[in-house]
């Protein structure tokens, strides 16, 4: 419950500073801005990578040079000078490599504390293994032992390249090829780290896997690469949460997440994203150009993407499912909030190839302030996808009268046996709803939170318990002052 205010001044809240806004002072080993083959060789050498990976990067880079930025998203921003970005930044302390949390730079730990992510507490209380990504290098990995007993591999992808090269080589780039799109190509060329997960046949991962991303060094692009493989009959729930310190410089972020799901396996991938959205005039904030894709290669494979997105100045993101295996299932549950000057063009793609494949899309968009949000979704039923089914629900909620919500649903059906359902609504938080709550003794701010959380309920219900609580809180913090 927020404080009771005799006089309510919306601007008191709208000018609220980003809660996670601070910069940790740690010496960084940062490359000067610019991108050419030498930079890529440097990154690869720094990470002591095998020849094949360097060549893979260089190939991606050469491809990238022939590509142009996509301009079809419904967002506007000044041109990005990719030569002005620094492509490598690692905390100095990484040289020796901490063996345990005790060896981790205390300032780093302090950063996590400020963000309310006490690693130790999580280790002991929540039973969540955390692969903490600070800038580009993973500095703390926990619970490895327990996971190892189950045969689960959960480590930084740079480590996986060294320890499990055959697995990485077998799967890397097979879901999102190097030349898939402009940002994926860039990521393939310069990715510095990320997470690698392998769940062996028939194993149910004994804990939820979690990675906290942070962008910290000034002017450093963040290019995470995540690869998760669920072998036959396995299951894993993966949580990704993000937050970044405040700064004026726009930051480029182009991550790639690849999920491979084999026969009867399931991956549940949940994201809470809270990157710096810029200030109320649209200055600063993260540019978030992400490629996330799941490949249900096996029969009866299942994937669900659940995301709660409140951050970033610009979001370009379409977590997708390729339903290749027969009877495979893809799900996409999303809550996205744009306020102040945030812009988001986001949605999903469901590509039905296998027989009797099923997909569900539930997208909830909330716009406040001068936020602009577009849902862009593609459902494609290939000729081979006999008996495919899709259900799409796409709702928008507007707060105030200076924001916008747009919907671009694309449907391509090449098989007449397909069943398609689409529902869409746009509503506004009404003065009458607010007054109704107030007349029951609930303050305006609490009423807005309540109405928004009610609107998001279908998606929050899909989140793992501890994440659902976090998501609720995140919405509340993000919405403070959204109603004036």
């Amino acid at each position: 419950m927020s404080e009771i205010k005799q006089e309510r001044k919306p601007e008191e809240f709208t000018n609220r500073e980003y809660e996670a806004g601070f910069v940790t002072d740690i010496e960084t080993d940062t490359l000067p801005p610019g991108l050419d083959e030498d930079v890529i060789r440097h990154i690869s050498a720094k990470k002591d990578e095998p020849e094949w990976l360097l060549n893979w990067r260089l190939e991606a880079f050469r491809h990238w040079q022939t590509m142009t930025e996509p301009h079809w998203p419904n967002v506007t921003y000044p041109p990005i000078d990719y030569q002005a970005v620094s492509y490598y930044s690692a905390p100095k302390s990484q040289e020796d490599g901490p063996k345990s949390l005790d060896e981790v730079d205390p300032k780093l730990l302090e950063t996590y504390e400020k963000l309310g992510i006490p690693l130790r507490e999580q280790e002991f209380l929540a039973g969540v293994a955390v692969d903490a990504v600070f800038d580009s290098v993973s500095v703390a990995t926990t619970f490895k032992g327990k996971l190892k007993d189950a045969g689960v591999i959960f480590c930084p992808i740079s480590e996986a390249v060294q320890e499990y090269p055959e697995l990485v080589q077998q799967y890397l780039g097979t879901v999102v090829p190097t030349g898939d799109n402009f940002y994926a190509a860039l990521n393939s060329a310069v990715f510095t780290d990320g997470s690698f997960v392998y769940i062996p046949k028939g194993v149910r991962c004994p804990m939820e896997l979690s990675t906290y991303f942070r962008i910290n060094a000034l002017n450093t692009g963040q290019f995470e690469r995540t690869l998760i493989i669920a072998d036959e009959g396995s299951y894993v729930s993966y949580l990704e949460g993000c937050t970044a310190p405040q700064r004026d410089e726009n930051q480029l972020h182009a991550a790639v997440v690849e999920l491979v799901i084999l026969d009867d396996a399931q991956i549940k991938y949940s994201t809470v994203q809270n990157w710096y959205p810029g200030d109320e005039n649209g200055v600063g904030g993260i540019y978030n150009f992400v490629t996330k894709r799941a490949d249900c290669r096996g029969n009866r494979a299942k994937v669900s993407w659940t995301q709660v997105e409140t951050g970033s100045a610009i979001t370009w993101k379409y977590p997708s499912c390729v339903l290749r295996g027969d009877d495979s299932v893809g799900e996409f549950y999303s809550v996205a909030l744009t306020k102040m000057c945030q812009q988001a063009d986001t949605g999903t793609k469901m590509i039905h190839i296998g027989k009797n494949t099923k997909s569900t899309i539930v997208s909830k968009g909330i716009s406040a302030g001068r936020g602009q949000q577009s849902y862009r979704g593609l459902v494609r039923i290939a000729k081979s996808a006999e008996g495919a089914r899709n259900f799409t629900q796409c709702d928008s909620l507007l707060i105030g009268d200076t924001c916008g919500a747009h919907t671009f649903p694309y449907v391509e059906v090449k098989n007449p046996t397909a069943t398609m359902e689409h529902e869409a609504t746009t509503s506004r938080i009404g003065e009458d709803q607010l007054f109704y709550c107030q007349s029951r003794g609930i303050s305006e701010e609490d009423a807005v939170n309540m109405i928004v959380n009610g609107f998001c309920k279908d998606v929050f219900n899909e989140l793992p318990m501890e994440f659902a609580v976090e998501a609720n809180r995140l919405m509340e913090v993000s919405l403070e002052g959204a109603v004036g």
Binding site: Q433, F435, C437, Q438, I451, G454, D458
Partner: protein
């Protein structure tokens, strides 16, 4: 309980209330009747604190406090309750959750400890019986998919839970069939007490057969033109409102 003096209020610059004087004592039940557009709903909305109404003159004193200085939730904490003519749907927000938030905000304001979910559920179950509201309504979205009658019963149920000192019932009888009317009226009658005042805004004498008012007022053209007892309502039903206007003009 509440004293309204020379109250003038307008919407978008258009004067609706033109000098209301009304005093309601603790435990009294007042019925406000009048033709369409006379300002009856405006009066209840102004008392509850709805946005969009500008009070241009006059005062409302409630429990010795200036009611017009308070925002809507503060009025609720002080015991003002409005049963809506058209209850609002809030999809996805649990009916019980909304009430719990309201009750606990009020308790916090009163310096009382907040009720936990278990205690609260006990109270809520008890009160739901009062208006014969099925338990399933407790866990549904606020008014989401409720029929007209269910919505009105839900309003009285909320009143029972929030235990107001001053309940404003804005056309609670409209849209109710005779059985629902009886249930709603029973609920209100149960809630009558020495320290609770009720103001019923209604078009129909019918409601007053079930909830016997102490006073009846005729509101027309933004003013209370006539006040009386229960018999006034019967007379109005027989003769309409014109004679009241004429009498007032004379």
């Amino acid at each position: 309980m509440i004293k309204i003096e020379n109250l003038h209020a307008s919407i978008d610059g258009k004067a609706i209330l033109k000098g209301i004087n009304l005093e309601i004592g603790a435990g009294e039940v007042h019925a406000i009747m009048g033709p369409n557009g006379s300002g009856k709903s405006t009066l209840s909305n102004v008392i509850a604190g709805r946005d969009g109404y500008e009070v241009t003159k006059g005062s409302i004193t409630y429990k010795d406090k200036d009611l017009l200085e308070m925002n809507p939730e503060e009025r609720a904490w002080e015991g003002v309750f409005l049963a809506f003519q058209y209850p609002v749907e809030i999809p996805g927000v649990n009916n019980t959750y909304l009430l719990k938030a309201g009750v606990n905000a009020k308790r916090k304001h009163q310096g009382l400890e907040e009720l936990d979910a278990i205690d609260f559920l006990k109270i809520v179950r008890e009160k739901a019986k009062l208006v014969e509201l099925d338990q399933s309504f407790l866990s549904r979205g606020v008014n989401e998919g409720f029929s007209g009658g269910e919505k009105k019963r839900n309003e009285i149920f909320q009143m029972a839970v929030l235990e107001p000192s001053l309940a404003l019932l804005d056309e609670t009888d409209s849209g109710l069939d005779i059985d629902a009317l009886r249930i709603v009226a029973n609920g209100v009658n149960h809630l009558r007490s020495e320290d609770r005042s009720v103001v019923m805004v209604t078009h129909y004498q019918r409601l007053l057969d079930y909830i016997k008012p102490d006073f009846v007022h005729v509101l027309a053209d933004g003013k209370i033109l006539k006040s009386g007892g229960k018999n006034l309502a019967l007379e109005l039903e027989e003769r309409g409102y014109d004679w009241v206007r004429e009498e007032a003009a004379a």
